[in-house]
Symmetry: D2
Subunit: 400 residues, 4 copies
């Protein structure tokens, strides 16, 4: 069984419930504890399914004990180490920046979560898999390219039942679903080990500066010492194997620990902040979407890896690999991590790293504010060109 | 004549000298006023040539009046505007970073200088063109790919005459060549509108941090106001056509002026500093070379252009253009600006910019120190891999 | 109006019918006269639409007089010249072979037809556009990427009405739709100026050799003279501008005439026969599809253009253009001719042809049989790999 | 020692000669028995070197016993199997056609020969390696990129000694070097397992048709049976592992045997004839060169592999691999087989073949004449464009 190896790290929060009624079968639901996954969970139960809720922990900050609601079983699995070693490391090796900037934090997390969800489904004999992403963005594609999902948000019966996203809270109240304390957060947040990312709401309009309260990973620079942290990072085959703080001697040698340490050190200095407009793969509301991301460890490793490469990789190999890196970023961003072509590209990129080893010293200094460049754009999407492109994009989406 | 259009901007510093002896012909020498160009000038005169010294001004800071030495004629031409419009703008449109980082400042200047030098040669009926780059680095290639040059540093007669680079000063003294006041600068500096760059000497060893005195473009941040400058940059067809300071209303609308203004505003904040190791095209002493570069205006425009692109360029066009951008960076870096393939790629990149227009607001804040990432690498080039690669590179160089 | 320029070449076969009943509006139907377009026409009438049948003539051999059935108006337009000059010439310049072999005959015809159909729709004030391709193959995508179409074959009401494709003839008989004389042709044929292509039925199984009756463009080689035809083809900017038969002096200088002449001369020798398995973009029944194609003129021009290129195009330009050619073939094959990215690639390819000019002599000899390589493959699609790939493809299709 | 494994296949034709005089050291000479290699051998002896002649047999047809002339030792090694398995198989997997046509026969043989020559040199303690290619063509680069060679044709002392290529025969006669019986062959021939190739002399001018006597691998088609040979070719991991003649049951299962069998069957039908103009990498006399090549087995395998790929390789993997194939062809053609970048590309291509397996039936029919397309081109290299390009190429060559 594919699940055996990782069983010990799985917490089964609830015992199996023996329900009298005959079930339509089990649905494994990618459960986040958010209002809408809770509503979906309830609705699927109403339809006669047994729900196995599955929470993947990739180091987002959540109180998992709060989350057990209405599921027959709840599995929580910490896949942080796998996320770092099987997904983030490849991204570092690829030196990929989607559209020249984005370190692919969210795009990397999806295939990791889905893989584990499929494993659970097979292990527990589930018949269906469900997720809660809506029909509006990239994420549905990233999930669905991997396996067939039941997607209640695209099912008229569910949609009519909850009377749209805006009435979801009403539906939740009626059915005793616990309402999150901050229902009105003016943006959506996604956090995983690789990054924390803010989209929609206030940040969506590129005319708005990111509100200061966004920068949760940034300590008040006034309190930070004004001498830099000096870190020595050692690479083997293009991945970091050791991080040492030159001043205090702190050393980490396992993937997960060194990555978390880099997040901590670089995060408090505000390193790794980016503010970008993405040219989305599929986005019904708008073909472009502004997001603010913080990826401290990823940013430091991106640069430290570039330097190690400069010293150890043949110039011509690097050029060929650079083209493969563009392809990798495109495939991961558009949700094709598990495709044959991405598997091929990943193999080639890993191969190019055979001799990428060495030690790099990085001096990490706080910056006055996390933003160096804050870009605002007077783009009016109603102009003719924009509309044409918008429709073109839609037709692409339909036909593909 | 190709020269007519720009004649008015050329200063002819010296009247033609009528010398009694018969000359072997005229050599147009790309003259920088440095010790070695002065020595070459003298040596070429010794060989019986008439020298037309040609100084191209692309906004390096030099006292041109000091430079007239021994030439039959000295032409000084300010090609700053051409450099911005015909070379830098294309680089901005291409979003090229050679090896993911380098904005190509020096690589862009070479074909600009050589073009003008060829123009002068034709205009003045010169028979030969000469330059002073040694046999060690990329620059000889960048020059020579464009036309046939006499290269005294690779001519045994010259090399033996001056008894090597180290004895150059002796030769200069003997022949009354004025010695620059700072003969012992511990690095070499190259400045043009696009960047100022420090290589060789102390910075060459990546174990050394860049000495503070390098950062000549950076004002003391303590004296800078701690509110950001807000600049609005307007793009048409992928190039900036207007820059306004939102606070004080300063506005620039010509290429050269707005570029110089960006250099000034961003420079005093320390924006655009990079510290890299290049994987050189041809480098006899070492296949890799560390350099510290400052490209304030280029860096701001690189980012502002990325944002304008995100709003206006089709996602799939962008991907194709990204591949062409990699090729462009490679061709420019290796000196092939004037090749048919680079001409083709430049045409395609310009075509991709037809709809790249909009306004971007950039907030420019000082950083505590110009360095955010200071990378040092314990690379020992005597290990087996390094040596193999070194020889491999040499054989490439020989054969290509 | 976009239609004005080409009005004179349009034949309006039937006068407008004034029908008493109120119509739901006009549908412009891409009409081929085939059984299923006739049935769709009838069914759309049953639904209350006025039908404007539009036949695009790109030199398929059909008796257009036979085709007027039940439409309110029938427009026939000969777009052969546009097809050659605006579509085929670009394909020749690109040197594209999809998956190393296929000259893209069908893929090129689709965007040509759809363009004209949209023009007619705008001109006649039609509200809808319909086509008859089923949900099974590439062609629906090629049509639909260009505009929104009503696709009856994917509409349950139509599908149930005619009780599936197999009962279509029954439906036709009941409603007086003329049955084509050869309803049982054991394969489907697609003909246009660029090629004649046979798919489905007997040829679909790659274990079957193409039946001799397929080779309709090939004269009996026994009757052909055993001396070659010698043709001289002159290129300018990468397209043929003159074809002369060296022996009899026949000369053609307009695009359409010279292309038809090449089809005739090369066709009788059996040149341009290919027998391939395509890796289809979207194909519900099977991800791969075998087809037999004959593209005589296209094949000769492909080779003659290669030779002209070898003499006139810079080696490095050619390499860059080769990459763009791969992209062009992919975009055209998958139906993206009218996308921004294909427009960009087409522009770049055309630019690369500025200096591709010269004369090429081609000696065209009959071959004993049109097939040199007849490939059969013992591929069992039920093996595990095949199934995995099949599902993978489906998921791609769904999600894209 | 790297030589041990292959020792048994090496024939040592002559015993070591103990010469009284002190030697300057041993030179391993890539010896072909041609007039110029014999002259070089003699000249190197005159200079005081001991010569170890090394003949690599890759199935060219030569009488090796005739070849022993003047060398201290002569080694003959048959590397046909290595050539097929380590070089040709990769080319088949890559589906590479340099400039859309050329199967790279000569380009593949060079790195194979040089590898073995280096092995011998190490084994026998030779100090130098020499070859006989002139300064005019691609081959010198292909040799020299691999190791440092002494190249007498580019050494003034040798060139002056023999008074140029035209006086070589005179020099040979004076020194008793056996003159080949056909000194005046009006073209140069290169034969190896992959192809036979004719260049220079009569074929060089693309206005000339290839003389009938060129087609040495083609049997008179009048005598060939007019029923096709049906061959079944089985692939595993993208390389042929079995070839069976469906009619007579002949079967071959080892690399070398099946490849030779395909050469025989396809050769007698005239399959695999190409007549091309190459855009040479380095060619002092002319930047383009016409060649006529016959690669019977290679051509059949190229097509059979394409079909197997069509059934077994994912469409998107294929596209990425196609780009790598272009790079591979470029690297092999320009002599970079042993470079790090080619090693990387070869690894990636091999990886893409993991699932390329299946059986293909090929029907091989004779064609009336080996030429289907005989292209002649009225190219006048003295026109301005040509000259510019010619010089441009030269400057590239010099500078690279």
């Amino acid at each position: 069984s594919p699940a055996t190896a990782t069983d010990s790290r799985r917490q089964e929060l609830m015992p199996p419930i023996s329900d009298g009624m005959s079930s339509k079968g089990s649905v494994v639901l990618a459960y986040s504890g958010s209002l809408d996954t809770s509503c979906i969970l309830l609705w699927l139960k109403e339809q006669g399914y047994d729900i196995i809720a599955y929470l993947v922990n990739i180091s987002q900050k959540e109180d998992f004990e709060e989350l057990k609601f209405g599921a027959k079983k709840v599995f929580i699995e910490d896949v942080s180490r796998e996320f770092v070693e099987e997904f983030i490391w490849l991204a570092i090796q690829s030196s990929s920046l989607y559209e020249d900037r984005y370190l692919l934090g969210t795009s990397l997390a999806r295939p990791c979560i889905t893989c584990k969800q499929m494993e659970i489904t097979q292990w527990k004999g589930g018949k269906y898999v469900s997720h809660s992403t809506t029909g509006k963005g990239n994420n549905q594609v990233r999930f669905e390219l991997i396996c067939y999902f039941a997607a209640p948000w695209r099912t008229p019966e569910f949609y009519n039942r909850v009377k749209g996203y805006n009435n979801l809270m009403e539906y939740a109240k009626q059915h005793g679903i616990p309402i999150p304390v901050t229902p009105q957060s003016p943006w959506s947040t996604e956090e995983n080990l690789m990054h924390i990312s803010y989209q929609a709401g206030i940040p969506e309009n590129p005319k708005n500066q990111g509100p200061p309260s966004l920068y949760t990973k940034t300590q008040d620079p006034a309190k930070a010492p004004n001498t830099p942290d000096i870190l020595e990072i050692q690479f083997k085959k293009g991945v970091p194997v050791k991080v040492s703080n030159v001043k205090d001697g702190t050393t980490h040698q396992t993937s997960l620990e060194l990555f978390m340490y880099l997040n901590e050190v670089a995060g408090k200095r505000g390193v790794g902040h980016i503010d970008i407009v993405e040219n989305c793969f599929i986005e019904m509301k708008s073909p472009r979407s502004r997001g603010i991301h913080q990826a401290p460890a990823g940013t430091i490793l991106y640069h430290a890896h570039l330097d190690t490469k400069a010293f150890t990789m043949d110039r011509e190999v690097r050029k060929i690999k650079q083209g493969l890196g563009l392809k990798f970023a495109e495939l991961v961003y558009t949700g094709f991590w598990h495709s044959p072509e991405c598997e091929f590209v990943r193999h080639c990129i890993a191969q190019s790293q055979e001799q990428v080893e060495g030690k790099v010293q990085v001096s990490v200094l706080e910056v006055q504010e996390p933003v160096i460049m804050n870009v605002q754009c007077d783009y009016e999407p109603v102009d003719a060109t924009g509309l044409k492109e918008y429709h073109h994009l839609q037709s692409k989406v339909t036909a593909r």
